[in-house]
Symmetry: C3
Subunit: 345 residues, 3 copies
C-alpha cells in the first residue's frame, strides 16, 4: 500500500509546520538504519541525519534538523514534535492489525454466552470464552484464548490481546489495550489469622475500574478491590509484569515501567512515573508529578513532586550523595588517623 | 438472597460473644463507604464507626467498638476477632462463584483424556485440557483455558482459575486455590557448561507437592524439583508474580507477598512472612517466624525469628540505623573539621 | 524401559574416561536420596557418596570420587565433568515427553490457518491457534492453548510449551524451548507526550529474533523491536518472569536468572550472568563475561568483566566493603569522641 504525503498533511495539519514535495508517495515507515527509497523516516537528532545512507521518500523532522538537510531528494515534513508525529503517523500508516481478520468476525471456536452483548464491529478470536451479561463496545477486538468472566463491561475500540483474563464485574473504558497474558480482577491477597496462626482468605468482591486510553502490560496482575474499586484512571500506562494490588488508585497519565509493584490501597497522583522494579508499601501516597527512579522503595509517602530514589525514597540529589558515602567515610578515616598521629606527637 | 442474623450466629457461634436483634435480615456485605440499609458491615476501629453515614442492617464488631454504638437501628454482632469474622462470614454469604454454572458441569469444549478420573461434583470450564491419568477430587473446579498435564493429582474443593498450567506428576491437596495464569511444575533453571562454555539443559524430573489450603497467586511460577519435590506445605499463601525455584521447601502458614523470588533449594520455616519483592539466593535457610521487609535480600541464612531487612539481611533496628548513615557521616565530618581547626590554632 | 551401560558408553564416549561393568542395566535416574537398585545416579562430591544408602545399578562420577568407592556392586562410569554428563545422560534416558502423544499428532481442536506450513513431525496440542503464513520446522512441538500469530517462523526440534503467545513476524531458531505462559513479541513500552501531557502509543513494528538453543522462561515477556529486532543470540537462557524490552541485544550464552528486567536498547555481552531480580536501565552496555549478583542495578555501563554488585554497579569487593560501612562509621565516631575528650583535657 502506498500513501501520498498530502494525506499525512491533511490528517495531521495541527502537527505540521511546513511541508515540501507533498505529491511524493511512501509505502513503509522505517528507522534510519533500515531506510529504503519508499520509506518515511522520523529524524529527531543530527546524528541520525548523518547516518542516513540513502534518500528516503519522506523525512519527518524538526525545523532545526530540517535546516541541515542538503539536496531535495526527499519530501520533508517539518513538525513541532517529532516523537508525537511518529506516534500518530505510525498509528495511521504502519500499525499492526489486531483484527485478525483471517479468523473472521467471531471465530466459531469462541464460547460466548447468549446473554453477552457484542456491539457492532466486535471481533472475537479462536477459543476465547465470554461469560454471561458481558457487554463489549463497538469495534473492540478480543483476540485468542482469552477468558472474559461474567458481567464485564468493555468500551469501544479496545484491544484485548491473547491469553488475557478479565474477572467478573470489571469495567474498561474506551481505547483500552490489554497486552497478552494480563490478569485483571484477580482476588487480592488478604487473610485473617486464627488462634492457631492459620490464615483464612477474605473474599475480595470489588472490581477493577479502568479508564479510557489505559494500557495494561503483558503478564501483569491487577487485583480487584476488597470492596469497591481498584482504579486505573484515564491515560495510565502500565508496562509488563507489574502488580497492582487491591484498592490502589492511580490517577491520570501515570506511567509504571516493567516489574513495578504497588501494595494495597496506595494513592498515586497524576503523571507519576515509576521506573522499572519500583516497589510501594501499602497505603502510601505519591503526589502528582513525582518521578521514582533506580528501583525506588516507597516505604514512606512522597509528598513533593520531583525526582526521588532509594529506600526510603529521598530526593534524587540526596540519594546520589549517599551513593558516595563509602569514599567519604574513607576520607574521614584517613583524616582522623592523621589527627591522632599528630596529637600523639 | 437475604439471610437472617440468627443463621450467622448458628454457623459461627465460636466467633461470636454477643448478638442483638438476631431476627434481622441482611442481603449484602459492604464496606463502611458503601453501606446500605440491608448491608452487613464489619467495623474494626472507631474511625470507621464515625464514618458510617446510615444504619446498616448488621454491624459486626469488637466489644470495645460495640460499646460506642448509639441507638439500636442495627443488629450488632460482637466478635472476638473482626478480621477473622469477616473472612468466615464473607466466605459464607458473599463469596464469588467459581462454579461458572452457566457453562454446565463439564463444558463440551473441554478436552479431557478418557483415563482422567473426575470425582463427584468436579466442574471443568470451556477449552480446558486435562491429560491422561489425572485425578481430580470431589467438588474441585477447573475453570477455563487451563492445561492439566498427565498424572496430576488434585484434591477436593480446589479452585483452579483460568489459564493455569499444572505440570505432569504435580500433587495438590484439598482446598487449594490457584489464581489465573499461574504455572506450576515448570522445569527449573539448571544447566551444565561444556568446554566451549555453552550451556546444556539438565532435565528436571521431580514434581511440586502442594499441601492443603495453599494459595498460589496469579502469574506465579513454581518450578518442579530436579529430582524429588518442590514443597509448599499446608496453609502457605503466595501472592501474584512470585517465583519459587526447584527443590525449595516452604513450611506451613508462610506468606509470600507479590513479586518475591526464591532461588533453588531454599528452606523456609513456618509462618515466615516475605513482603513484596523479597529475594533469596539458593540454598538459604530462613527459620520459623522470620518477617522479611523492605525487599530484603536473603544472601545469608536468617537463623533468628523477628523482623529483618536489607541486603544482606540485618535485624530491622540495625537496618534502620544504617538508613541514617548519611546524616551521621555528615555530622562526623563537621566535627572532624572543627577539631582540625582547633588543633591548628 | 531398561538401558544397558554400554549404550551410555557408546553414545557419550567423549565424556567418559573409564567404565566398569558395562553389561549392567539401569531403568531410572535418581538423586542420591531416592536411589534404588535399578537407578543410575550422579555423584559429584564425597558427601553424596557417604549418603548413598544402597547400591545403585550405575554411579556416574569423577575420577577422584571413583577412587573412594568401595566394593563393586555398582557399575562405575568415570567422567570428566559430572554435571555435563548428568545433562546429556538425563536428556537421553529420563527426559519428560513433550510430544503429548496422547493427543495425537495434530489435535482436532487446534485452529490452524491453511496457509501455515508445518514440516514433518510437527505436533500441535489441543486449542492451540496458529495463524497464517506461519512456518514450523521439523519435529517441533507446539503444546496446548498457545497462540502463534501470523508470519512467525519457528525452527526444528523446538518445544513451545502451554499457554505461550508468539507475536507476528518473530523468528525462532532450532532447539528453542519456550516455557509456559511466556509472551514473545509483545509491543514495547513507548509513548510520546502531547501538550496536555497525555501519552500516545508509538506502534512497535519490529520483531524478536531468537537464536538456536535459546530457552525463554515461564511467564516471561520479550518485547519486539520498535523497528528491527530484539535479539536473543544462540544459547542464551532466560529464567521465569524476566522482562526483556524492545531492541535489547543479548549475545551468546548469557544467563538471566528469574525476575530480571532489562530496559530498552541494552547491549549484553557473551556469557553475561545476571542473578535473580537484576535490573538494567535503558541503553546500557554490559561487556562479555560480566557476572551481576545481589540484585545489581545497572544504572551505568559495566565495561570490565568480573563480578559486580550494587546500584550503581561496583566491583564485588568494593560493594562488600560498603556493606560494612555502618560498623566503620560507628568506629570512627567512637575514635573522634575520644580524641575530642583528650583534646579537652
Amino acid at each position: 500500500m502506498a500513501y501520498q504525503v498530502q494525506d499525512v498533511c491533511n490528517r495531521f495539519s495541527d502537527l505540521i509546520i511546513d511541508a515540501s514535495c507533498t505529491d511524493s508517495w511512501f509505502s513503509r515507515i522505517d528507522s534510519v538504519e533500515g531506510v529504503q527509497s519508499d520509506s518515511l523516516v522520523f529524524i529527531s537528532d543530527a546524528d541520525s541525519l548523518v547516518n542516513l545512507d540513502s534518500s528516503p521518500a519522506v523525512i519527518v523532522t524538526s525545523a532545526e534538523i530540517a535546516s541541515l538537510i542538503e539536496g531535495d531528494a526527499s519530501s520533508v515534513l517539518v513538525v513541532k514534535n517529532v516523537r508525537l508525529a511518529q506516534a500518530f503517523i505510525k498509528q495511521q500508516y504502519a500499525d499492526y492489525d489486531t483484527a485478525d481478520s483471517h479468523w473472521g468476525v467471531i471465530h466459531p471456536s469462541a464460547v460466548i454466552h447468549p446473554s453477552a452483548k457484542l456491539h457492532e464491529g466486535v471481533r472475537v478470536g479462536p477459543n476465547t470464552v465470554i461469560g454471561p451479561d458481558v457487554e463489549i463496545g463497538t469495534n473492540t477486538h478480543i483476540r485468542s484464548n482469552c477468558v472474559i468472566e461474567h458481567s464485564v463491561i468493555i468500551g469501544q475500540n479496545c484491544v484485548i490481546n491473547n491469553l488475557v483474563n478479565i474477572g467478573y464485574l470489571c469495567v474498561l473504558g474506551d481505547r483500552v489495550i490489554v497486552r497478552p497474558g494480563a490478569i485483571i480482577g484477580n482476588e487480592g491477597f488478604g487473610f485473617a489469622q486464627d488462634e492457631q496462626r492459620h490464615y483464612h482468605r477474605t473474599p475480595h468482591t470489588g472490581y477493577v475500574d479502568i479508564g479510557d486510553d489505559v494500557q495494561i502490560g503483558s503478564n501483569c496482575n491487577i487485583d480487584r478491590g476488597t470492596y469497591g474499586a481498584t482504579t486505573i484512571a484515564r491515560g495510565v500506562k502500565i508496562d509488563a509484569l507489574c502488580h497492582i494490588a487491591h484498592n490502589v488508585s492511580i490517577d491520570e497519565d501515570a506511567l509504571f515501567v516493567a516489574q513495578s509493584g504497588i501494595a494495597g490501597s496506595c494513592n498515586i497522583g497524576k503523571r507519576v512515573i515509576a521506573s522499572g522494579q519500583t516497589g510501594m508499601l501499602d497505603h502510601k501516597t505519591v503526589v502528582d508529578d513525582v518521578i521514582l527512579v533506580h528501583r525506588c522503595g516507597v516505604t514512606e509517602d512522597v509528598l513533593e513532586p520531583g525526582l526521588w530514589a532509594g529506600t526510603p525514597p529521598r530526593p534524587f540529589k540526596e540519594y546520589v550523595r549517599n551513593l558516595g558515602l563509602g569514599k567519604k567515610v574513607n576520607k574521614l578515616s584517613r583524616e582522623l588517623a592523621e589527627l591522632k598521629k599528630r596529637q600523639a606527637n
